[in-house]
Subunit: 418 residues, 2 copies
């Protein structure tokens, strides 16, 4: 059997696939002595689960709603009615008013990005070749293999700022961006994997440059405002013409539903609708039905404020204390990116004598699942020691798993350093 070039490319190396497969096999194995610090599965929080269950029940008991949900196709990017309700509801969170033709639904925001990134990069209608600017790498692993053409990413190296002895922060470097080669800008805010929440003034600068170059600025708010709103003390992201914002139901605790929401100008939504018709035929109805309940009851911002933010802040604090204590005891050289938002800790081990890929493999043998940082630099050609010396950990796990994970990582890192 011969495969197409694109299929071959995908099967060769695919960070997001190995991550998702780790997640699948970790779940199906015994959970004794496993430290699953790899995936982005949201935590199970009973107070939130109760509200989600009640939303599902309200759909089922509202006469005829379930039958229509199960039995009707909607349009490729969602029903006009739900799109209009969503525009009316979401506008206030983004400092603007929105219309229904500025909203599109997808089976998760990953699904939306597979269409978005291919709309604004690669071989263009005028014959030019444009790249996707990742203004600060590391950036989300799931973008890396989504483009149908190769060499489509331009990774812009960050400025590394040391903030405290064991903390650092990446910052946008505005020099040397080859804007004339760029077809769109893609940023996650908070950034997965680092937890960076870009300053609004830097977002504004990216926006201004994007407008000058007549290209869209994509901001992935999977962990951002208005839900789950894990952005610490930073300012929320706002929408302006030319921006493409992506929201998700996954990180509030509903990844099994697969709902991604795109906010953009109508002409961009129309392009996405063409892709969605071909790739999805229609978007699933469960996510849309839940959205209608949540908008009506204004649930998600409240859940975010009262349940998710305190929960994750507490988890983060605990994880940091455990890890720093264990690392100190084992004399590990390390520095953690300032955890400003999201689910992850991005840890740098300066002068790590093995590669992060090897560290991942050794950890996996001990049932400690981490994500090697090398995946998060698609398109990078410059040398940058962080590509080989960083790992991503989720902090959303049980205390026991964090302890076990930190101990094993510390042992491996300090052993290989000697």
């Amino acid at each position: 059997m011969i495969l197409s070039r694109i299929a071959k490319k995908l099967t060769r190396s695919n960070g997001i696939q190995s991550l998702m497969e780790d997640l699948g096999s970790a779940w199906s194995g015994s959970t004794e002595n496993i430290a699953f610090l790899g995936g982005g599965n949201p935590a199970k929080i009973p107070e939130a689960e109760k509200i989600y269950r009640s939303a599902v029940e309200s759909i089922i008991t509202s006469g005829g709603t379930l039958e229509s949900l199960l039995g009707d196709y909607t349009s490729p990017i969602g029903s006009d009615e739900t799109r209009e309700l969503t525009a009316a509801y979401l506008g206030k969170f983004f400092g603007t008013t929105l219309q229904g033709n500025q909203i599109a639904f997808f089976n998760g925001s990953q699904n939306a990005y597979s269409f978005l990134l291919n709309s604004f990069s690669g071989t263009m209608e005028d014959g030019s070749f444009k790249k996707i600017l990742l203004p600060v790498v590391p950036e989300y692993i799931g973008y890396a293999d989504q483009t149908w053409e190769e060499n489509v990413f331009y990774a812009n190296l960050p400025i590394v700022e040391k903030t405290t002895p064991h903390r650092f922060r990446y910052k946008l470097d505005k020099t040397n961006i080859p804007w004339e080669t760029i077809g769109c800008v893609a940023l996650s805010r908070p950034t997965n994997p680092t937890g960076n929440v870009m300053e609004n003034e830097d977002v504004d600068w990216l926006y201004t440059e994007s407008r000058k170059n007549n290209i869209p600025l994509l901001i992935d708010l999977a962990y951002g405002n208005p839900f789950p709103n894990l952005i610490g003390e930073k300012e929320p992201t706002r929408w302006k013409p030319g921006m493409i914002l992506s929201l998700s139901f996954s990180k509030v605790g509903l990844p099994g539903v697969r709902l991604g929401i795109i906010i953009a100008d109508p002409e961009i939504i129309s392009v996405l609708s063409s892709f969605a018709a071909v790739g999805n035929l229609a978007v699933g109805n469960w996510g849309q039905a839940l959205a209608k309940v949540f908008w009506k009851e204004d649930s998600l911002p409240q859940i975010s404020k009262n349940i998710l933010r305190p929960y994750y802040a507490n988890k983060l604090q605990t994880a940091l204390e455990i890890i720093e204590e264990i690392f100190a005891k084992n004399k590990v050289q390390y520095s953690i990116h300032e955890p400003e938002g999201g689910f992850f800790l991005w840890i740098h081990f300066p002068n790590l004598p093995i590669s992060n890929k090897e560290l991942y493999q050794i950890c996996k043998k001990e049932n400690v699942y981490i994500v090697s940082g090398h995946y998060f630099f698609p398109g990078l050609t410059a040398q940058f020691s962080h590509t080989q010396e960083c790992i991503r950990l989720t902090y959303c796990r049980d205390r026991k798993e964090i302890v076990r994970g930190a101990e094993i990582i510390a042992r491996i890192v300090s052993r290989t350093a000697n």
Copy 2:
């Protein structure tokens, strides 16, 4: 804003999009005096709806199932457990035994095909360029724009057999297929739009030739066995190594759930998993949860036999009687493809003086939605009058809509013929 070449191509012409948008706008408009004979929405059948509701309720009341369904990502193509249960359940319907690694879930079978068709066509890993053979055109509209490269379809003209004065049938023409240029074969059985159910001996011939050429044979069973099993008296399709079968929950009455199931060799499933990770991250959990209930209770084959087949057979009979009576009264020249399976009537108007595209436009102005047949011949270079003279109608609508649609079509066709 400049778009990529692929985005531009998709926004230019996209049959499946205009069809799905018609469907969306028809729903949201007044339903008075509308004849919606365009889409493939399954009928609402209360006996079936009751069983589906009860399956949803059993998921919700089974302790913890809903929380896991909502709150856990599964692997890109579904959980190992559900894949294994599905293999064990489905094998018997396809004359074989199946393993979990031969099963993959997608957000609808359209979603699966967007990955499949691009895996086995276009620029190949060895640098050659391969096409998708549509062995009998017309073939499903939704395939046409799914490939990322252009000129990827090879449409094989059928033999047209007159069966009765107002009936005909397309048959596989085995001569002149340029096998050396083909990367895979794609057939829907029953065929959407025609209702053709290819004879098993022709399927066997395609299978043998595909094996000789080391390429996969894709058979789309959206309307086929084992559910909804709308294949009349024809033999069900069987699975053999090298075949890729596609099943869907849509046509049993659950299009809003978005579940497609692929049965194939493990190495093909593995390729699809790479695509799914990138394009979907994970597949939705609702469809998988329903599948587990349906397999356990052996529901779908029974629903198909006892509810769906009698219902659609009756609808078909009624529609044929209405249409033939109205066409005869209006002296319309017409011939209908033998309706062997599926939801549709494929009607040929010999010597139609306007194109089917124009017929669609005129009908739409009168609130009669049909699908122009010209969409269903992707890759056809040969002359074939049927491309301009055929339309597709769904027969699954109310008597009143069929009457109204047939009268308006008859009036337009006979008026323009004079």
